[in-house]
C-alpha cells in the first residue's frame, strides 16, 4: 500500500481544524497572497496546466470552464456547489465541516481569476454543521481581510454569502441550483445557454464543486505542473474517494486519481466484510453503472472507468458483497431518483414512476417477465432523452443492473 501524503485532507484531523487560526498556522491563505500578485489570466493558466477536472460528477476541466467566462462582462458570479446529494458521496461534507477555509481560499482565488465580486455558497439544507462552519469561516475571513473590499491591499473586492437548499437532490444540478439561488423552484434550465454565458440573474456564472475549489490553493502554491504530475493520463491530481457498503472500514480516503479500485477497497477500506466475495461495485455514486468483481483492477480515473463501462462520477464507491439482492439494490436506488425527480420533463417524470412500479413488483416477488421487458424499455426510453442528466442517471443503474445481473431479475419472476 502506497501511503500518500494527504493534500486536501491534510488538515481535517488536526484539533480545531475548522478554525481560521489553525488554517493560517499551517500555511493557509498563502496561495491567495501569491495569486493576488499574479494576473487573473496567469491564475487561470496555472489551473489549466494542472488539468484538474471537476469533482462534482461531470468531470469537466476546470481551467477550460474558467476560460469560458467572458472577459468583458461587467458583472460575473461564482457559485459554490455544496449540495452533495448523490447517494454514497460524503466528501464535500467532510471538507466543509473540518476545513472550510481550504474551500474559501479556492473561492477567492477563483473569483479573482474570473473577475467575480460576488460568490454564493449553495449548501445542502441538511448540512446543519456545514452551514455553521461556512458562515463562521466567511465571517472570520472578512475579519482578517481575506474578504470584503480591497482584499490584502490588492484592490480586489469579493463578498460571499451562504444559501441553504431545502432538500432537493435536483438542486445540485448547476442550473437548478441557480434557479433555487434566485429563490425559485429548483428545476434545471435549458442549455445552452450555459451558466458561463447566462447564469445567476442572467449573468455569467462559474459553478464549481467545493472539492474542486479546495484543490485550487495547492495548484497555485505548488504549481499546475506539480498537480498534473499526479494521476493518470486524463485524470490528474488527488481525489477524495468515499467508500461505503460492505467494507470493513468505510470512510473518506484521499488518493491520487488512477489508484486501482482493488487497492482502495482492500488496502485502505480494510476489505470486504466477513471476507466475502464482491458481487457488485458502484464506483462513482449511485447514478454510475455497476461493475462486477472482474473489474476490480480498474484504476479510479475518468477514462479508465469509462472504458470499464462505468464512470468516476463523484468518486463514491459502494461495495456490495455476494449476499446482496441486486433487484432490491436497483429498486432502492430507483426509488431515490423517482422521489427526487423534479418532474420538469416527461420521460423522467413518468418513466421513473413506471420503472419503480415494475421494480417494486419484481422485488416483492410479484413481478413477471413483462415487468423486466417494460423496465428495460422504459430505462432505454429515458436514457439520454431527458431534460437534464438526472433522468439518464436514473436509468443507468437499471440498465447496468439488467445487463449484469439479469438472471437475478428473472429468478424473481420464477414463481409467477
Amino acid at each position: 500500500m502506497t501511503n500518500w501524503e494527504p493534500v486536501l485532507l491534510a488538515n481535517v484531523n488536526r484539533p480545531n481544524s475548522e478554525k481560521i487560526d489553525t488554517y493560517l498556522r499551517y500555511g493557509g491563505y498563502e496561495a491567495l497572497r501569491k495569486a493576488l500578485k499574479m494576473t487573473p489570466d496567469q491564475v487561470t493558466a496555472e489551473v489549466k496546466t494542472s488539468e484538474i477536472r471537476g469533482r462534482g460528477g461531470a468531470g469537466f476541466p476546470a481551467g477550460v470552464k474558467w476560460g469560458f467566462m467572458p472577459k468583458d462582462a461587467p458583472v460575473k458570479y461564482l457559485a459554490i456547489n455544496t449540495d452533495e446529494g448523490e447517494p454514497g458521496t460524503f466528501k464535500d461534507r467532510l471538507i466543509v465541516e473540518r476545513d472550510p477555509h481550504s474551500i474559501l481560499e479556492g473561492v477567492i482565488i477563483a473569483s479573482y481569476a474570473i473577475g467575480a465580486h460576488r460568490a454564493f455558497v449553495y449548501i445542502r439544507g441538511e448540512f446543519f454543521l456545514g452551514v455553521k462552519r461556512w458562515i463562521k469561516a466567511i465571517s472570520d475571513a472578512y475579519q482578517k481581510g481575506f474578504l470584503g473590499k480591497n482584499i490584502l491591499g490588492s484592490g480586489f473586492d469579493l463578498d460571499v454569502s451562504v444559501h441553504r437548499g431545502a432538500g432537493a437532490y435536483i438542486c445540485g444540478e448547476e442550473t437548478a441550483m441557480l434557479e433555487s439561488l434566485e429563490g425559485k423552484r429548483g428545476v434545471p434550465r435549458t442549455k445552452p445557454p450555459f451558466p458561463a454565458q447566462k447564469g445567476f440573474w442572467g449573468k455569467p456564472t462559474l459553478v464549481q464543486n467545493c472539492e474542486t475549489l479546495a484543490n485550487i490553493p495547492h495548484i497555485i502554491l505548488r504549481g499546475g505542473k506539480w498537480y498534473s504530475s499526479i494521476g493518470t493520463e486524463k485524470s490528474k491530481g488527488m481525489k477524495i474517494f468515499c467508500i461505503s457498503g460492505h467494507v470493513n472500514s468505510p470512510g473518506n480516503f484521499e488518493l491520487p486519481l488512477g489508484t486501482p479500485l482493488k487497492e482502495i477497497i482492500y488496502e485502505h477500506a480494510g476489505g470486504v466484510r466477513k471476507g466475502r466475495d464482491i458481487k457488485a461495485i458502484i464506483p462513482g455514486g449511485s447514478s454510475t453503472p455497476f461493475l462486477t468483481a472482474e473489474k476490480i483492477n480498474t484504476p479510479m480515473g475518468f477514462e479508465t472507468l469509462q472504458a470499464a463501462g462505468s464512470a468516476l462520477g463523484t468518486g463514491a464507491i459502494i461495495v456490495m458483497d455476494e449476499t446482496t439482492d441486486m433487484v432490491e439494490v436497483v429498486r432502492r436506488i430507483t426509488r431515490f431518483y423517482v422521489h427526487e425527480s423534479c418532474g420538469y420533463c416527461f420521460p423522467c417524470r413518468i418513466g421513473g414512476q413506471r420503472m419503480l412500479s415494475s421494480l417494486e413488483r419484481l422485488a416483492g416477488g410479484k413481478g413477471s417477465k413483462q415487468d423486466i421487458e417494460d423496465l428495460e424499455y422504459v430505462a432505454k426510453g429515458i436514457y439520454g432523452r431527458t431534460f437534464c442528466p438526472m433522468g439518464t442517471g436514473m436509468a443507468e443503474p437499471v440498465l447496468s443492473g439488467l445487463r449484469l445481473f439479469r438472471p437475478e431479475f428473472e429468478m424473481k419472476t420464477a414463481k409467477n
Binding site: I170, E340, S341, G343, F346, R349, I350, R354, G381, R385
Partner: protein, 772 residues
C-alpha cells in the same frame, strides 16, 4: 445576422444564426412534432417529443429541436429509428397516465395529444401502476372546465397566464410524478385572482383546461370556425369564433393581428351570450295608433321611418333630427349614417357613443403632434421604459394595453396607476395614486410642473424636435401646486415621487383609456398629455407615446369615417367651406354649415324640445351611465324614436319604429382600432333569417329619402369615404391584409406603426400653454 448552413435529413438548409433546429426544419418544410412548444409562448423544453438526432461522425445524440440552436455543419435526422423510438416511448409514457377517454372527450378531434398518438401509432399502454385521479370539473368558475386527469404537464397554461396575461394564476405543485398544475394554495380560480381571460384554455393542447360552453353539445368537427374582429372594445382583437347552428360556442385568439397577437380579454372571450340571446330582435315593428308596437316586415317599417323623418325635417328643419350610433358598427355603416344625417336629413347632429372623447383626442393630438390618434401601437406598450396608466380601469376596458403594460413592468418598467378606484392593474403597479375623480388633467399638469422644476426633462429632444416650450413653461409657473393637490386629492409628495418615477426610465409611455363617466372631453387635456410625453423625449419613439384609447369598440372608425358632429370623414371640419365643397362634389348635396351637437348636447336639446327625432343605431341609451329616470323622460319627449339594434333594449318601449340588426359577428366591412389599425370583418355566420345589416338598413332608408345618396356596397362606401380621407392613401378594403393596415397609409400602401420624429426641423411637435 450571419447565416448558418446545416443538413436536415440530407437536405441543406441555410438559416439565420440563433435559429433553433425546429425553425430551420420548418423553413425547409420538414415537420417535427411538438407538444409543449407553442410559437407564441416562451420555450419550456418539457415534453421532449421534438427530439431529433444530431449525428457527429460515428456517434449521435438526441437534442430537443424546439430549443436547440443550429450550428454550421450540423447534421440532423428527424425521422431516424433512434428518433422515432424516443418519440414513441414518450407517447407510451404519456398515455400510461392519461384517461384515454377520447370517445367522450370534448377535445377529441382537435387534441394535440390524440393527434400525436395517431402520428406515432401508439396505443394506450398496458403499464400497470400508479395513475392520477383528480376530481373532474374541479373548479366552480363559470367559464372554464378543469379536468386535470387529462393534463400532460406541458405547462403552456402557466406560460400563457404569465407571459400573455401577466396574472400568474397557474403554477406547478409537487415534484416528480406527483407534480400537478394548480393555483396558489389550491384556491378556486376566481379566489386565486384569475382574470378569466381564457388564455390558459386557449393554449391547453388537451382537455385539461377547456371551455365550458359547447361541452356535451358539439364535437369539434361539427363546429364552424371563422375569424373576424371583436368590436367589444377599441383594441380590435382578431378572434376565431367557433359556432354551431349560428350559435357561438367559444371564442379563440387569432394570432395574425398584431393588435392582440392571439390574446383576448374576458369580454371578447366570454361575452357572447347577447349574440345567442333569445332577446335578439328578429322582427321590425312600428307603433300603431293605439300606441302598441305592431310586428312588421322590414321594408314597411323603414318606409314608415323615412316618411316620419321627412315630415319632421320638412316641418322643423334638419336641426330637429339627431342620429346617434353605438360602438359596434363598421366603418362603412358609420360613414353611411353620417351621410344620411348630413345629406338626407340636413342635420350635422350625428355622433357616436365615443364621439366627444374621440373628437378631443383628435383635436389635441393633431394640434400637438400632427397625428390625431394614438401615436404608437398596442405592441409598443410592452416595450415601454416606464408607464403611466390613466383614465379607465385599464384591465377591464382596454385589456390589451393593460397586459402589454404588465409585460413591460415584468421587464423592469416602473408602472404607475392613477385611478379613483383601486383597479386591478394597480396590483402589478410600482405606484398606485388614489386620484380624485376627474383629476386626470390636474395630475398631468402636476407631473409636468415637477418635471420642469426638477429638470427631469430631455433637453436635447426638446431642442431638436419641439417648438414653443416657453409657452408651456411660462404657463406652468402660474399653475399653483396647492390647486393641483386639491384637484388630484394627492399630496405634493405623491405627485413629486410619481413624476420622478415616471421620468426615471425612458421611453415613458402614457396609456390613457377613455372612461365614459370621468374622462375630460377637452382637447387641452390631450395637448397636455402630448406635452408631458414631449418633455420626457418620449414621443415619436418606440415604446413611448400618447396611447389614447377611445370609449368603445369601433369609435375610432366612427370618428375617422365622419360620425362626429364637427367633422366629415377624414376630420374635415364641416364648418369649413372647402369641406362642404368636397362633400358637394362627392355627394351632390349641400350640407348645413353649422357644426352639429355631440350626444350630451343632443340630450340637452331633446330636453328643451329642440330635437324631436332621434335615430339610435346600435346603442342603448340606458347604458350611457346616466340616470334611468332622466333617459326615460327624454325618450318620452321625442316625436320620433327609431331604435335599430341587435337586441331588445328598454328603449324599444319608447320607439316608434324598431328595426332588427345583426351583431358584429354577422357583418362584413372594416373597423379601425385605437391604434389606427384598419381591419376587415368577415361574417362568422349569416344573421338570423338573412336579416339586413345596419348598412343595408340605412341604405334602404336613404333609398326612401333620396335614392341618389345610396351606396352600392360596403366596398363602394369605403371607396367613397377614402375620397375624404387622405389618411387611407386610397387603399381598397380588399387590399387590407389580415394583420390590418395602420393609417396614415402612404401612396405605396404602407401603413404607420407609430408617429415618427419630425425630420429636418420641419413640423416640430408643438407645446401649448397649460390650463387647469
Amino acid at each position: 445576422m450571419a447565416n448558418v448552413t446545416l443538413k436536415i435529413n440530407g437536405q441543406e438548409v441555410t438559416v439565420e444564426n440563433g435559429a433553433t433546429i425546429l425553425e430551420a426544419a420548418k423553413q425547409a418544410g420538414i415537420y417535427i412534432p411538438t407538444l409543449c412548444y407553442h410559437p407564441w409562448l416562451p420555450l419550456e423544453e418539457a415534453c421532449r417529443i421534438c427530439v431529433v438526432e444530431e449525428v457527429r461522425g460515428d456517434w449521435s445524440s438526441l437534442a430537443a429541436a424546439c430549443v436547440y440552436p443550429v450550428r454550421t455543419g450540423m447534421v440532423i435526422e428527424t425521422d431516424s429509428p433512434k428518433v422515432t423510438e424516443a418519440r414513441r416511448t414518450i407517447m407510451d409514457l404519456l398515455l400510461s397516465d392519461h384517461p384515454n377517454d377520447c370517445m367522450t372527450c370534448y377535445a377529441t378531434g382537435e387534441c394535440e395529444l390524440q393527434d400525436l398518438a395517431h402520428l406515432c401509432a401508439v396505443k394506450a399502454t398496458k403499464y400497470a401502476g400508479a395513475r392520477h385521479q383528480y376530481e373532474i370539473d374541479s373548479d366552480p368558475n363559470p367559464n372554464l372546465h378543469i379536468d386535470m386527469n387529462k393534463c400532460i404537464l406541458c405547462r403552456r397554461c402557466i406560460r400563457a397566464c404569465h407571459d400573455i396575461q401577466g396574472a400568474d394564476i397557474w403554477t406547478k405543485v409537487g415534484r416528480g410524478f406527483d407534480q400537478r398544475i394548480s393555483t396558489a394554495f389550491d384556491l378556486p380560480l376566481l379566489d386565486a385572482g384569475c382574470e378569466m381571460c381564457g388564455h390558459c384554455a386557449d393554449f391547453c393542447p388537451v382537455d385539461a383546461i377547456g371551455f365550458r360552453k359547447g361541452r356535451g353539445e358539439a364535437r369539434s368537427w361539427q363546429l364552424h370556425r371563422a375569424s373576424t374582429i371583436c368590436l367589444q372594445c377599441p383594441s380590435g382583437c382578431r378572434a376565431e369564433y367557433d359556432s354551431i347552428e349560428s350559435k357561438i360556442v367559444r371564442v379563440l385568439g387569432d394570432f395574425r393581428s398584431p393588435a392582440n397577437h392571439g390574446a383576448l380579454c374576458k369580454r371578447g372571450r366570454f361575452n357572447f351570450d347577447f349574440i345567442n340571446s333569445p332577446d335578439r330582435l328578429n322582427e321590425a315593428a312600428t307603433r300603431n295608433d293605439t300606441g302598441e308596437l305592431d310586428g312588421s316586415s322590414i321594408e314597411p317599417a323603414l318606409e314608415t321611418a323615412a316618411s316620419a323623418l321627412r315630415r319632421i325635417r320638412d316641418a322643423s328643419g334638419g336641426d330637429a333630427i339627431a342620429v346617434l350610433c353605438g360602438g359596434m358598427l363598421t366603418n362603412e355603416e358609420y360613414y353611411l349614417a353620417q351621410k344620411l344625417a348630413r345629406c338626407a336629413l340636413s342635420s350635422n347632429h350625428i355622433d357616436n357613443v365615443g364621439g366627444p372623447w374621440q373628437q378631443a383626442i383628435y383635436e389635441g393630438l393633431d394640434a400637438s403632434l400632427g397625428l390625431g390618434a394614438m401615436t404608437n401601437s398596442l405592441n409598443d406598450i410592452a416595450r415601454a421604459g416606464a408607464i403611466l396608466a390613466l383614465g379607465s380601469n385599464t384591465l377591464e376596458n382596454h385589456a390589451i394595453a393593460a397586459i402589454r403594460a404588465r409585460k413591460a413592468a415584468r421587464e423592469g418598467a416602473p408602472l404607475i396607476v392613477a385611478n379613483a378606484a383601486r383597479v386591478l392593474l394597480s396590483k402589478t403597479a410600482n405606484l398606485y395614486l388614489p386620484l380624485k375623480e376627474g383629476g386626470d388633467a390636474a395630475l398631468v399638469l402636476g407631473l409636468m410642473k415637477v418635471i420642469v422644476e426638477e429638470e427631469l426633462h430631455d433637453r436635447k429632444f426638446l431642442e431638436e424636435y419641439t417648438q414653443d416650450l416657453a409657452k408651456l413653461e411660462r404657463s406652468l409657473q402660474k399653475v399653483n401646486m396647492a390647486e393641483i393637490v386639491e384637484k388630484t386629492g394627492l399630496s405634493e409628495d405623491e405627485i413629486r415621487s410619481a413624476a420622478r418615477l415616471y421620468a426615471s426610465r425612458r421611453p415613458a409611455c402614457l396609456v390613457y383609456g377613455v372612461d365614459l363617466l370621468n374622462s375630460p372631453t377637452s382637447d387641452t387635456f390631450f395637448k397636455m398629455c402630448a406635452s408631458l410625453q414631449m418633455l420626457l423625449g418620449s414621443v415619436g419613439v418606440v415604446g413611448g407615446g400618447v396611447n389614447a384609447m377611445g370609449a368603445a369598440g369601433n369609435c375610432q372608425g366612427a370618428a375617422d369615417f365622419g360620425a362626429l358632429p364637427k367633422y366629415l370623414p377624414g376630420y374635415r371640419p364641416v364648418t369649413a367651406a372647402a369641406s362642404r365643397k368636397l362633400a358637394g362634389t362627392v355627394w351632390g348635396a349641400e350640407l348645413p354649415k353649422k357644426a352639429g351637437m355631440s350626444w350630451p348636447e343632443m340630450l340637452g336639446a331633446i330636453e328643451k324640445g329642440e330635437i324631436k327625432a332621434l335615430y339610435l343605431i346600435g346603442i342603448d341609451p340606458f347604458a350611457l351611465g346616466l340616470s334611468k329616470l332622466k333617459i326615460e323622460g327624454l325618450l318620452a319627449r321625442l316625436e320620433l324614436l327609431i331604435v335599430q339594434d341587435s337586441n331588445r333594449t328598454k328603449a324599444c318601449d319608447y320607439a316608434h319604429v324598431v328595426l332588427p340588426a345583426p351583431t358584429f359577428v354577422e357583418k362584413a366591412g372594416t373597423a379601425t382600432n385605437c391604434e389606427r389599425r384598419v381591419q376587415r370583418l368577415d361574417k362568422v355566420f349569416a344573421p338570423p333569417q338573412g336579416a339586413p345589416s345596419d348598412f343595408e338598413l340605412i341604405n334602404t332608408l336613404l333609398g326612401f329619402l333620396n335614392p341618389q345618396l345610396q351606396v352600392a356596397s360596403p366596398e363602394a362606401a369605403f371607396a367613397e369615404a377614402t375620397r375624404f380621407m387622405s389618411e387611407l392613401g386610397g387603399v381598397r378594403p380588399e387590399q387590407i391584409p389580415v394583420e390590418g393596415l395602420q393609417w396614415p397609409v402612404d401612396s405605396q400602401g404602407i401603413g404607420t406603426e407609430r408617429l415618427p420624429l419630425p425630420e429636418n426641423g420641419k413640423n416640430k411637435f408643438k407645446f401649448f400653454a397649460a390650463r387647469l
